[in-house]
């Protein structure tokens, strides 16, 4: 199995080469892209913020343990979903890991295909997160295109006010409000006030 990194793949971190290799085989048999790391330190050294996909972590490893790595990633606000694999079901540790934002926690021996299913789910979640991020960035860029007056008008549109009221409040002509409105819809790439509200509301803009 190659270590080439596709845009989004499952990152397997396990100190045991056989286990690592078997997992790679398993994922390959289900057509899931994956990359393997021999240790937590290896992963930390080479990982970049742009890394996407999910993380499969063995809890018990010499050197930096799985949970330790997880804490370090949380510190740098890495959003990668993390799946823990453990040989001895340590319930308190599992609870703590889930609370800390781990995606899942699997105890050995596990059903291999079920593991792959969870990995696929994790990848999907990551993809959604990524899409959300991108949408957010787009909205931010579009908002930046609005002028000051357009922003004032947009706030009042989102508050559900009629054009006439907006014109009175801002002390401008009703006609001018209609022009601003059209410009806003165009810049924000929406067709109606409802659509505008939905797009912005999802991100709390």
């Amino acid at each position: 199995m190659t270590s080439a990194c596709p845009p989004a793949c499952a990152h397997v971190v396990d100190d045991d080469p056989a286990v690592r290799d078997a997992l790679a085989w398993l994922l390959k048999s289900r057509n899931v892209a994956c990359r393997t790391w021999a240790s937590a330190t290896d992963f930390l050294a080479q990982a970049t913020p742009q890394l996407r996909g999910c993380l499969v972590l063995d809890v018990r490893m010499p050197g930096m343990s799985g949970t330790e790595l997880f804490d370090r990633l949380n510190e740098v606000q890495c959003t990668l979903p993390v799946l823990f694999l453990t040989g001895h079901g340590d319930v308190p540790m599992a609870v703590q890991a889930i609370k800390g934002g781990a995606f899942d926690f699997l105890e050995k021996p596990y059903d291999d295909n079920a593991l792959v299913d969870r990995i696929i789910a994790a990848l999907a979640q990551d993809a959604t997160v990524l899409a959300d991020l991108q949408e957010r960035e787009r909205i931010d860029k579009q908002l930046e295109l609005l002028t000051q007056r357009e922003r004032e008008v947009m706030e009042r549109i989102l508050a559900g006010k009629l054009n006439k009221v907006i014109a009175d409040e801002l002390g401008i002509a009703m006609r001018t409000v209609e022009v601003h409105r059209a410009r806003i819809f165009e810049k924000m790439n929406v067709r109606s006030a409802v659509e505008l509200s939905q797009r912005l509301g999802r991100y709390g803009a």
Binding site: A18, V19, S29
Partner: protein
């Protein structure tokens, strides 16, 4: 005896009396009164003495005056008879005058004066009175004659100095015959002679008699040379004989009275002696008081020391009778001092079961062979509770160096024993825990080691299956299966390693004496057995040798013994018994360990030898399982049966006897 703490010890000093000061005040006042009375008595005696002497003086003087006057009167009469108009009178004058003069009544001269005052006769003859020539004398004489004539009675002249420092005075006695004045009989008195003649010797012994004139000048004195007490003198007027003459008597200092002096000295001496003895007594009393208060303080100090002791103290006489116990001992055993003192063995605080052993020890102690480092003895409190005491004995020696008994100090070491026991159990628990922890660690490590290849095998197999299902070629699938086989081998190696670890014992071939092993295991359990008061009965019919691992076999026997002991925890102490038997049986030895405990419930009997099965809160459930494994590894058998009487269980361990 009985100098026990609550009774008043004979040695305990009394409180110093508060009336002591009052007593001393009384003594002082009494002494001062006594001394005052003595002085007063002496003064009184002296005063009455002085007064008496004065009274004597006065009466003596009165007597003297009387005597003088009597003499003068006699002389007057005699003088009057000498003068007469009768013719024979002239001739009779001289003899008569001589008789009168010789009578020694102070007259020095007698003169017959006629009516004109001319001397007609004078005696003694030849001696002319000088004073008659003197003018003043003559004048006085004439005056006196005139006075005598006119008065018609004897008249005395004033005193005038005579020869040799003597003083003279005259008496003129007018003589009438037939109613006609015929002359005067004049007598010249020498004052000195008058005194010499009239004052008797015994009076001059006592007094200095002197005549003084009006100015108080002493004219003549009759005296011895002796100290005179002028202030005690007595003066008596001697008028009419002399104008202004006075008779002064001054008593001589009385001769010292030896009896009185001795008495006075004795009185003073006695007073001094009383004072001195009082002072000595007082000093003695003060010293005694100081000693008493020191003793009292010392006693209080010792009492406090004794009461503060946590160590029980008990003294016994040579027969073993209790003669003293302190508070701590009473508190320890629960009997009061009154109940214990005077008591003879057997003592109520001895444990009945150990009575024989205690009595023996007691005899040894009384014989002076007690262990010096002290000995432990189980004693009984009044409420029946048994405690362990550490006792030290020391001989009790009286003031004359004779041994009168034994003093023992008794320390309740139950708590110490309990603490030791607890520490030991804690240690055991700790060891068990650490064994558990180590075991858990090892199990965990083994599980991980085994999990790794298993996980890999599972992964490869699933991958292979997935590939096969997705229609991959055999060539694609083969490497996964090959790797899977490789991991299977790895797992096998891990298991072999674990097995080797578990089997690491090579001491299975030592010849061992089974009875010695049992004794060693019993010795290990001895403290617990004693604490639980388990009676152990050994019955070794054989003393067989077996071949095996000493540590494992001993551990197995130890486990069985401890199980038996623990099975009797709720059994009454009197019924706790452990019977250990060794019997030979056709090449085998049967070690049976029977307890009198609760027995084993039938529903538990099946599970008893299962690993991890336990009925004990602290048990690991490994004991019997290990025992059985050990015994079976020694080609033996382990089983149990309930006792025939229904109380307790009997475990049997059957081991082959070694062939020699």
């Amino acid at each position: 005896m009985g100098y026990h703490h609550r009774m008043q010890s004979p040695l305990a000093p009394r409180e110093p009396g508060s009336g002591h000061g009052r007593l001393w005040l009384l003594t002082r006042v009494a002494f001062i009164l006594f001394a005052g009375a003595v002085i007063w008595l002496l003064t009184l005696t002296h005063q009455s003495d002085v007064e008496e002497r004065r009274a004597t003086l006065i009466s003596d003087m009165l007597w003297l005056e009387q005597n003088l006057r009597f003499n003068l009167l006699r002389n007057e009469e005699h003088l009057a008879h000498l003068v007469s108009n009768r013719p024979e009178a002239l001739a009779a004058f001289n003899p008569g005058a001589r008789v009168v003069l010789s009578e020694g009544r102070g007259l020095r001269r007698i003169v017959w004066l006629d009516r004109q005052g001319q001397v007609r006769k004078s005696a003694p003859q030849g001696v002319e009175p000088q004073n008659l020539d003197a003018n003043d004398s003559k004048t006085a004489q004439a005056t006196t004659v005139r006075f005598a004539h006119s008065l018609g009675r004897a008249t005395y002249s004033g005193a005038y100095p005579g020869p040799d420092g003597d003083w003279l005075f005259e008496v003129h006695v007018p003589v009438d015959e037939d109613g006609e004045f015929i002359g005067v009989a004049m007598g010249v008195y020498s004052v000195r002679r008058l005194l010499d003649d009239s004052v008797p010797w015994w009076l001059t012994e006592r007094y200095r008699i002197a005549l003084t004139d009006t100015s108080g000048k002493e004219l003549v004195a009759r005296s011895k040379v002796a100290p005179v007490r002028a202030e005690a003198g007595y003066q008596l007027s001697f008028d009419p004989p002399g104008h202004g003459l006075a008779l002064l008597a001054t008593p001589y200092a009385p001769p010292p009275s030896p009896v009185r002096n001795i008495l006075s000295v004795a009185l003073v001496g006695l007073a001094v002696a009383v004072l001195w003895s009082l002072w000595v007594l007082r000093r003695h009393a003060q010293r005694r008081l100081a000693a008493e208060s020191a003793l009292h303080a010392e006693h209080a100090f010792r009492q406090a020391m004794e009461d503060s002791l946590q160590t029980g103290m008990r003294a016994r006489d040579l027969k073993g009778k209790v003669i003293y116990v302190n508070q701590a001992f009473c508190k320890m055993v629960g009997w009061s001092a009154e109940e214990l003192i005077g008591r003879e063995p057997p003592m109520p605080y001895l444990v009945d079961a150990e009575f024989a052993a205690t009595a023996q020890l007691h005899d040894r102690i009384l014989a002076g062979e007690g262990p010096e480092e002290g000995f432990e003895l189980r004693l009984k409190r009044r409420n029946g509770e048994v405690f362990t005491a550490l006792i030290h004995e020391a001989p009790l020696i009286d003031g004359s160096g004779r041994q009168t008994g034994w003093m023992s100090s008794i320390i309740d070491i139950t708590d110490r024993k309990l603490a030791e026991e607890q520490a030991r159990r804690q240690q055991e628990r700790l060891q068990a825990t650490s064994r558990l922890v180590a075991m858990g660690e090892m199990a965990s490590s083994m599980a991980h080691e085994l999990n790794q290849p298993l996980a890999a095998i599972s992964g490869y197999s699933t991958a292979a299956l997935n590939l096969l299902r997705s229609g991959s070629s055999a060539d694609d699938v083969a490497p996964a299966l090959e790797k899977s086989i490789e991991q299977t081998r790895r797992a096998g190696q891990v298991i072999r390693r674990i097995y080797r670890l578990a089997r690491r014992s090579d001491g299975l071939s030592t010849p061992l004496r089974l009875d010695a092993l049992v004794d060693a295991a019993l010795a290990l359990l001895e403290p617990d057995l004693q604490r639980q008061e388990v009676h152990v009965a050994r019955d070794y019919a054989v003393q067989p040798t077996v071949v095996g691992d000493q540590v494992l076999l001993e551990q197995a026997i130890f486990n069985l013994l401890r199980n038996a002991m623990e099975a009797m925890q709720v059994t009454p102490a009197a019924e706790r018994s452990l019977q250990v038997r060794l019997h030979g049986e056709a090449g085998y030895v049967d070690l049976s360990i029977a307890d009198s405990g609760t027995g084993i419930a039938p529903d538990l009997a099946d599970k008893l030898f299962d690993p991890l099965f336990t009925t004990k809160s602290e048990g690991m459930g490994m004991g019997l399982a290990i025992c059985r494994t050990v015994v079976e590894n020694h080609r033996g058998r382990l089983w149990f049966e309930n006792n025939a009487d229904g109380h307790g269980t009997c475990f049997h361990m059957l081991l082959p006897i070694a062939k020699t």
